[in-house]
Amino acid sequence: MNPRLPITKTPKCYVGGAFIRSESGRVTPLHDASGAFFANIPQCTRKDLRNAVEAAAKSGSGWAKRSAYNRGQIIYRLAEMIEARSAEMIEALQVGGQPSARAKTEVAATVDRLIHYAGWTDKYEQLLGNVNPVSSPHFNFTVTEPTGIVGVLAPEDAPLLALVSLIAPAITSGNTVVALASTSQPYPSIALGEMLATSDLPGGVVNLLTGFRAELLPTFATHAHIRAISGVANADERKAIKLAAADSVKRVHLLKTEETHDWFADSAQGLYEIRDLVEFKTTWHPIGA
């Protein structure tokens, strides 16, 4: 008997709730830690990015209008999906050369991070917003609203945990995300897309692209519908992004590549990561008969 030939998976990006190849047809071969060919990764283009922004825009108002309770349950569900498939995710991380113990820790931390944000959906508003005691006879209150479409630029290290740590605070408050995965270790983002697809998160809320960073960054910075950029970048990238982002008065929140970030620490999560990606709206109404 011939041995059974295994079926290999064609990695596809998760955009608009569907799995896509790059419109360009371009791929980049990915090799595993031993140097053997593993798979071809889509090399997304500016056009793929624009399509992803369109998908994010379509799903935006629906996601923002979900109740806080509902958003919390969906993010919790995503954690459940990753926990249940953690063996697969650990393997995905090992493709990039991570030792299995470290991969295991990263997957566990990712699940915990999502649980952390799942609990924030119906609480951050009570801490960030408030009623303002104005001196005139008006009822005056300030609430937050999601900024809109957030461009996420993941760092090269912690390719799953850092990516999720950047996406989670954005979607907690109802933003939608177009994220660019680690260039050197893109495979975990492919696996994450498959778990997102089964998480009840509406298609288009999180869109994951793989590709060359240098090729895509300018479009992230200039696309007028992307309202905020969140991620990690080096000095040249930060300058280029901020220069181009000024044209549409984008909110830019970038950590520095040259500084070390402990994505595993509790300090890498919390209320102020959410605050960076919301707008404050103040409403006035007279108090009278």
């Binding site: 104005v134 300058k239 901020k242 000024a246 008065v249 404050f280 709206k281 409403t283």
Partner: protein, 509 residues
């Protein structure tokens, strides 16, 4: 308000013959030229100096270049004083002083003590309120009733509110501690010179920062007069430095390497230039930029109140307001009635001497701004909108512009898209709630919006749907130190006022 005086003349009121729609048949006061107001000029002494120097390190200091520029009264075009022109070298001296003050005194001072200085500033500003109001009106052209009843008291209120925060900073950011940033550079506009200064300085000081601030070129007097208040308050030298000048001075303030943060209020165009110039730095920024607010009137709104709100929304401070309700969206069924009421109301606005206590609309801030307003109004006429202007007589001297309303405006007209920053209203109509939302949000700006309706659930829906940082429902142009103000989209980012605005002046630790 002029209207209050008129109410006493009810016997002269004549009801118009009733027409088809009941709203139009409501009684209306017709004044014509039945009587004249006697002039009622404010005469208190604003205690001005013929020449104002830079306020650096607690002292009034001559500019290194020895250069001064004249500042005028836009209502008379007469020179009021000479203002020192700060060069980049003066700005550098100011930053050095601010950094020294931060390192040696202000950054280390217990919040309790810092707060007491800020309370002192609030109190002294109240003591000198009248002279500041007159100086503000003389230099900026705004009616004395606004500077006296709004700008100056509100400026004092901002200091009073923020003073109390100085020893309570552990409550600003739940779960985290905050620290001051260091020295902050601030550039403010000419529309609310003293008030914008208060908005900028008060939270910065409460958080423990030191300040280098540049007032607008045309309105430096109250800013530099404020230096006298700081001296009287005994504020340690260098904590606040005031450098007057034009664009070059502003660029030096924004780009100085010692600035840990910059805060800017002004046009979106200049805001973007600043953002680009700071792209290679780690400076924090707050940007409060332009607007093209929609003021939306639904057919169930109390129309008389709405008309007062529309007038306040666009003619307050001659329309030199970034959050001015410059696009009026009226539901079709009441459009005719609203326009008729609006025209009647505009007729009785008193335009003229800003120092007169009865004046409703004062002088345009500068010749340059008057030119911009005229250019945009001309474009409105050329593009086919219908212009109505108050029949008022304008003074022979000074920069004045008649309160103006454009009807038959479409979304593609420049007057519906560009910020005019003058007493010019563009009226558009809509049929449905969705259309109102679509039109209101169809702009790169997102600073403010107004909604007029009797329906509570509709107010809350509109408040959610309007992409604007401030929504005024059944009111307009209301401000308070406790209430965060700032924009969405290209109207900027960061907030001023309230707990949210205060946190923008600190760093989390």
């Amino acid at each position: 308000m002029a209207a209050k005086t008129h109410k006493r003349q009810n016997s002269r009121a004549t009801a118009r013959p009733s027409v088809a729609q009941p709203r139009k048949s409501s009684r209306e006061l017709i004044f014509g030229d039945l009587w004249e107001f006697d002039p009622a000029p404010e005469t208190a002494d604003p205690k001005l100096k013929p020449r104002y120097d830079l306020f650096i390190n607690g002292e009034f200091t001559a500019p290194k270049s020895g250069k001064y520029f004249p500042t005028i009264n836009p209502a008379t075009e007469q020179k009021i004083a000479d203002i020192a022109l700060a060069s980049p070298a003066d700005v550098d001296t100011a930053y050095q002083a601010a950094q020294r003050a931060f390192d040696s005194v202000w950054g280390k001072m217990p919040g309790r003590e810092r707060g007491k200085y800020i309370y002192r500033i609030a109190r002294l500003l109240q003591d000198h309120a009248r002279e500041f109001a007159i100086a503000e009106t003389m230099n900026g052209g705004k009616p004395i009733k606004e500077s006296r009843d709004f700008d100056v008291p509100m400026a004092a209120a901002h200091f009073f509110y923020h003073a109390g925060w100085a020893d309570k900073l552990e409550y600003v950011a739940p779960g985290r501690s905050v620290k001051p940033l260091g020295v902050v550079g601030q550039v403010i506009p000419w529309n609310f010179p003293l008030l914008m200064m208060a908005w900028k300085i008060a939270p910065a000081l409460a958080m423990g920062n030191c300040v280098v601030i540049k007032p607008a070129e045309t309105t430096s007097i109250t800013a530099l007069k404020f230096g006298e208040i700081l001296q009287e308050a005994g504020l340690p030298p260098g904590v606040v430095n005031i450098v007057s000048g034009a664009g070059e001075t502003g660029a030096a303030v924004m780009n100085h390497p010692l600035a840990a943060k910059v805060a800017f209020t002004g046009s979106t165009e200049v805001g973007k230039i600043i953002m680009r110039s700071l792209a290679g730095t780690d400076k924090k920024m707050t940007m409060e930029l332009g607007g093209k607010a929609a003021n939306i009137v639904f057919d169930d709104a109390p129309l008389d109140q709405a008309v007062e709100g529309i007038v306040n929304g666009i003619f307050f401070n001659q329309g030199h307001v970034c959050c001015a309700g410059s696009r009026l969206l009226v539901q079709e069924g009441v459009a005719e009635a609203v326009l008729a009421k609006l025209k009647n109301r505009i007729k009785v606005l008193r335009v003229g001497d800003p120092l007169d206590k009865n004046t409703d609309v004062g002088a345009i801030n500068s010749k340059e701004q008057l030119g911009k307003i005229r250019e945009l109004v001309d474009s409105g006429v050329k593009e086919g909108a219908e212009l109505y202007q108050s029949p008022c007589r304008l003074p022979a001297k000074g920069f004045f512009f008649k309160p103006s309303v454009f009807s038959n405006v479409t979304m593609s007209h420049r007057i519906a898209r560009e910020e005019i920053f003058g007493p010019v209203l563009s009226v558009l109509t809509f049929r449905t709630v969705d259309e109102a939302i679509e039109k209101a949000n169809n702009t790169p700006y997102g600073l403010s919006a107004g909604v007029w309706t009797d329906k509570g659930s509709r107010i809350l829906k509109m408040s959610v749907e309007l992409k604007a940082g401030v929504v005024w429902a059944n009111t307009y142009n209301k401000f308070d130190p406790t209430s965060p103000f700032g924009g969405y989209k290209e109207s900027g980012f960061g907030r001023e006022g309230g707990r949210q605005g205060l946190l923008d002046y600190g760093k989390l630790i």
